[in-house]
């Protein structure tokens, strides 16, 4: 039987990592991730989690210590946000390329300057191409469930890749929610012990992280790409098993009132829940042609599922919480467009950027976005994207 607890989402993550019986946690504090690592430090200090907590001197070292730990065969967890994720940047590529199953929670945060501790997706988009499996979450329950799934996926012999669980800084990390925690025995059944196939071990010496001349580098990159794409099957399988065991189901692309709706809004992360309410409100106002699509699996990108979800729509309005300066505007929208570009029948795609640096988008705000998006789809726009709610 699951235990129902009212708990801050960050604290819940610590509890989930405890349920996963992690061996090593290496982390450096950064707002809004701090409560996650504080709680883990506390669990280790109280002897409730038998793990090594390495209080490193930077995020660069946090991820580097994770490399060493995962390569030694330990179940490894860390968490960060914003600038911290940026400081880890080069290490992230190494984690995925060396096939090290590390799980990391990212309390998504805006990037400096100006300094902002509040949430948006600038940090995620900057590490988009680091080769990690990346999953977005919308509420506390999803975070906790997906942290457990992340270890299963990462450590799967067919995968052996690091996984990022994205949760919006403050909007999600600091919410107190009612969350169902599975029993330890249930988690133990779902998540077998980590068995990294080639650990650093004097009885079976391995050389890890050699350098590669041009004659082999491309092959190494391609192998990584094939591997990351193939990991989707395992992600789906793990979600399916999780659903069967715990009754909560997850998909790479999820729909809310999409069927036969001509106008679709696409969101990622915690704003999705506000957007759902906005869809309900619009319905009450008689706009029964508007639905919502939310992307859960950001990497590997779910091309087929996305195409399927929007195939009957005329208009697709994408909200990004990050900006690609001087480029297409919203990075998510640009990827959505590229996923649909070669289709014969596709919706008109409208790009909005908003909710940056912790700025809220209310239900009324989403209604405005939808209405404005429909207008742009009909009349066209000279701009690549519109920035929502900006004071010029």
């Amino acid at each position: 039987m699951a235990t129902k607890k009212g708990v801050e989402v960050s604290i819940g993550i610590g509890d989930a990592v405890k349920l996963a019986n992690a061996d090593v946690v290496a982390a450096y504090p950064i707002t809004p991730q701090t409560h996650i690592v504080e709680h883990l430090a506390e669990l280790v200090a109280e002897g409730e989690l038998d793990a090594a907590f390495i209080p490193v001197e930077s995020e660069h070292s946090a991820m580097s210590a994770c490399l060493g730990s995962a390569a030694t065969g330990a179940r490894t967890f860390t968490a960060t946000a914003g600038q911290g994720l940026e400081l880890m940047h080069e290490v992230l590529y190494v984690a995925s390329a060396m096939r090290l199953p590390i799980v990391m929670a990212v309390a998504n945060r805006a990037l400096s300057a100006p300094l902002s501790v509040w949430g948006d997706h600038s940090d995620v988009m900057a590490v988009r191409d680091t080769g990690w499996i990346q999953i977005f979450t919308e509420n506390g329950q999803e975070v906790i469930d997906n942290v457990l799934c992340a270890f299963r996926v990462a450590e799967d012999r067919q995968v052996l890749l690091p996984v990022m669980i994205h949760l919006d800084g403050f909007h999600l990390s600091h919410m107190i929610e009612t969350i169902l925690f599975p029993e330890q025995s249930e988690v133990d059944q779902f998540l077998p012990p980590n068995q990294y196939p080639f650990p650093l071990d004097p009885s079976k010496p391995v050389t890890m992280g050699d350098f590669s001349p041009p004659v082999l580098y491309t092959e190494a990159r391609w192998a990584q790409e094939v591997n990351l794409r193939a990991s989707k099957e395992v992600v789906l399988q793990v979600w399916k098993e999780f659903g069967a065991k715990f009754g909560r189901n997850y998909s790479p692309v999820e729909c809310y009132k999409c069927e036969n709706r001509k106008v679709l809004l696409l969101t990622m992360g915690s704003f999705t829940e506000t957007a759902m309410t906005a869809i309900d409100e619009l319905e009450k106002q008689g706009r029964t042609d508007v639905g919502l699509v939310h992307l859960r699996l950001w990497r590997p990108f779910p091309f087929e599922e996305l195409r399927q979800a929007v195939k009957d729509a005329d208009v697709l309005i994408v909200l990004d919480r990050a900006l690609s300066y001087g480029g297409p505007g919203g990075p998510v929208c640009s990827e959505v467009k590229s996923a649909l570009y070669n289709l014969k029948k596709k919706p008109k795609v409208v790009s909005f950027v908003g909710g940056m640096g912790g700025r809220d988008i209310t239900v009324a705000g989403f209604e405005t976005i939808v209405n404005r998006g429909i207008e742009i789809a009909q009349k066209g726009s000279e701009q690549e994207f519109e920035i929502f709610g900006v004071r010029e």
Partner: protein
């Protein structure tokens, strides 16, 4: 330092954890030093290696020179990677996943990877008290990228980024004192060594991995390519560095200094400088400046030895408990 006679080769294991066939330059002091360090370490070890000469010469896919588990990830993070390995070994042993076997964790890096870009990670790992040995192979510049100056390059040395010119006389700063920085972390064991004194080097490695807590070993590694010297002089130049007092060999055990090689009369620094092309532009004035500095630094170490030996036991801090 122990005295050894003609039996020397018989005293060293024939096993080569660092195998021949690597791509180091002819006369590479660092490859010699790594080989000796690995002989002293034996096989029950995990090595984390920074980017640099040693990584490049020893690990090109699909070849490896490493007969022990070895991992390279990045340039500046080796001490942090070693932290993760050490923590993982501890916790996996404690949980019974791994059999207890006293596996040593060793981080290796060059002088750039240690005293410049990797200094923060190293400081963090030493401060946290991980049970590991960090070996800096100091060839006094970024040799792998083509002889650029580091903070470990000695005063007056010409490198590609401290060149000699009409208004420049080469490196204008004095060599960063890495052993002193390591010692300032109050770790149980710090020592300097050189491949030209193989038994001293190997003894120090054994001592370093035997202590509980962090240990730091700074190994001067002669680089004929970067120092512009004949390849057959590697060992002799290493000895001259010690005999002139430019690179004194000493240990700092729990804060207590001990000279490993104490010559009553130091040789003049020019005996060392004149064999190397990187110093050939030095004027007499500059050589005198270097002589003064070396004499003063050497005297300071002798003072430390006298001070800390008098007040024995000069334990500054007990080795810290493990972090996990």
């Amino acid at each position: 330092m122990e005295k050894y006679g003609v039996y020397i080769p018989r005293l060293v294991t024939k096993k080569e954890p660092f195998a021949p066939g690597h791509r180091a330059c002819i006369g590479c002091g660092e490859a010699l030093a790594v080989r000796l360090v690995c002989k002293a370490l034996g096989n029950n070890v995990i090595i984390a290696n920074a980017t640099g000469c040693m990584e490049i010469v020893s690990s090109q896919v699909p070849y490896t020179s490493w007969n022990v588990p070895w991992i390279h990830t990045l340039f500046e993070n080796t001490a942090a990677v070693a932290s993760g390995i050490e923590a993982a070994l501890n916790v996996l042993t404690r949980k019974g996943v791994r059999q207890a076997s006293d596996t040593k964790v060793v981080a290796m890096a060059g002088d750039g990877g240690t005293s410049d870009i990797g200094l923060q990670a190293l400081s963090g790992a030493m401060e946290r008290g991980h049970n590991f040995l960090y070996v800096c192979f100091d060839n006094e510049a970024y040799m792998n990228t083509g002889i650029q100056r580091s903070s470990s390059t000695p005063f007056g040395a010409a490198t590609t980024t401290s060149p000699v010119g009409k208004v420049s006389t080469g490196q204008f700063t004095w060599k960063k004192n890495m052993p002193a920085i390591a010692a300032a972390h109050n770790i149980p064991y710090v020592a300097t060594a050189c491949h030209s004194y193989p038994f001293d080097l190997m003894q120090k490695v054994k001592k370093a991995v035997a202590v509980k807590g962090p240990a730091y070993l700074h190994v001067l590694s002669v680089c004929p390519t970067g120092w512009r010297c004949p390849t057959e002089l590697t060992v002799r130049i290493g000895r001259l560095a010690v005999e002139t007092g430019i690179f004194p060999l000493y240990e700092i055990e729990n804060g207590s200094y001990k000279l490993s090689y104490n010559r009553p009369q130091l040789r003049p620094v020019n005996d060392y400088l004149k064999l190397q092309g990187r110093f050939r532009h030095l004027s007499e004035d500059m050589i005198n400046m270097i002589q003064e500095r070396v004499t003063a630094d050497y005297a300071r170490i002798k003072e430390r030895v006298a001070q800390t030996q008098e007040k024995k036991p000069a334990v500054i801090d007990k080795p810290m408990e493990k972090v996990s």
